[in-house]
Symmetry: C2
Subunit: 234 residues, 2 copies
Amino acid sequence: MAGRAAVPEVIWARPERTGRGPRPAYTRADIAAAAVRIADAEGLDAVSMRRVAGELGCGTMSLYNYVPRKEDLYELMMDAVSGEHELWEPCGDWRADMIRVAHQTRDLMHRHTWLPRLMSPVYGFSPNALRYLEHCLACLDPFEAPYGTKMELVAMVNGVVTTYVGNEIATVERTRSLPWSQEQENAVRIAYLGRQVASGAYPRLAASFAEAAGPIDLEGVFERALTRVLDGFA
Amino acid sequence: MAGRAAVPEVIWARPERTGRGPRPAYTRADIAAAAVRIADAEGLDAVSMRRVAGELGCGTMSLYNYVPRKEDLYELMMDAVSGEHELWEPCGDWRADMIRVAHQTRDLMHRHTWLPRLMSPVYGFSPNALRYLEHCLACLDPFEAPYGTKMELVAMVNGVVTTYVGNEIATVERTRSLPWSQEQENAVRIAYLGRQVASGAYPRLAASFAEAAGPIDLEGVFERALTRVLDGFA
DNA sequence: AGCGCACTACGTACGCTGTACGTAACTAGG
DNA sequence: CCTAGTTACGTACAGCGTACGTAGTGCGCT
């Protein structure tokens, strides 16, 4: 009954197949792909054990043979999409390579908008995550600094990307569960914010709003944040 | 039936008391305080509508007269603890003031470990959040830059603090729902990680681990991240 | 060769969640 | 005074993660 043992374990330390018993009907990759498909199409909250089992075509509780806890399903999902990271030969300019890494991660998160939400709570070092981390360190070979600093740089870049894409996506993802449209939601919030700012209680905030003409250039904000972070390390 | 209208609205735009009907038994502050008490003591997941109502001593569905959706309860909670921010007279050195802001936010999050988890998805501009934002802008008065840049600085500092404290807290918060201890969890994960690193597949990661003697100095990591971000703006 | 055990599969059931809805009591405005 | 808008709250529903029991399957060992 190893599958039911209430024992701390990392899913990646569990062999996918032990040899004994009937051969499993699905692979971890199958399960991860099904979950990712659901999350991409209907949002992370649509990913339930029942729903994934349904997508696979098996009974709900059969899933628990592969995935002891739901959190492990999340780790499977993250590892699966981490595998989409393209790992290139570093060009020798660590700054350029880190910018490329950041852009790629951002694209990945745009493709899988549920990623930022999972990044924070789950600090798993899945196989593909380790590969990605190693690649980042390879990009930083020309950066003369102790590994501690390099790790902090990687963490910082990842953190900034996660935060920014998370903010970009927040509204979209949130309105998925609401009975009204994203435009209505935004309109209401902006109207309220405008009223508050117009009240005169927040002069600098008001000035800030007055200064801003048109919508925010998210792309530019991201780019600037990135270069500033890298500047801070150089 | 305004309380039941399925209409987009911000909770802060709803008057707390309209005049008609029996006078409400609780204030928003009461409700927020109850929810915060639960979250502080037992974690965010312990905050359910039933639980909060129980803490207040009323029926579950009575809560919905005050809080149309659970997400609004979260906004109430965030606003309540945002009120704990001390707002001082800026000292004239925006760098020093921003560092002080960051430290205070960090302390706040240590006191209320569920805050980082709520920060990302909820982008509410509650009264106390606006006050806090205005205060940050006041601290940045000596920083000669357009308001757009100042806002990006504030967002960046807040983002970094949220990310770092979130990471600090992740393990602690996560093990709350697990049947085994945080130490066991960590031991298992470290053992797995050590095995992977020792496999030779990740040479730089291995070097990085070899370099690190003893546990990570989280305090130092935070401090360095902060100064680097500020450096990137100056 | 065959026994036993570890494994897969899966239905049922429990306690929990957010919340829609109906009803009764109450009170301020017209 | 009346009535409309509120508060209060019990009941109910659909969904969740998952503990547990049971039946069938096939590898590894003796």
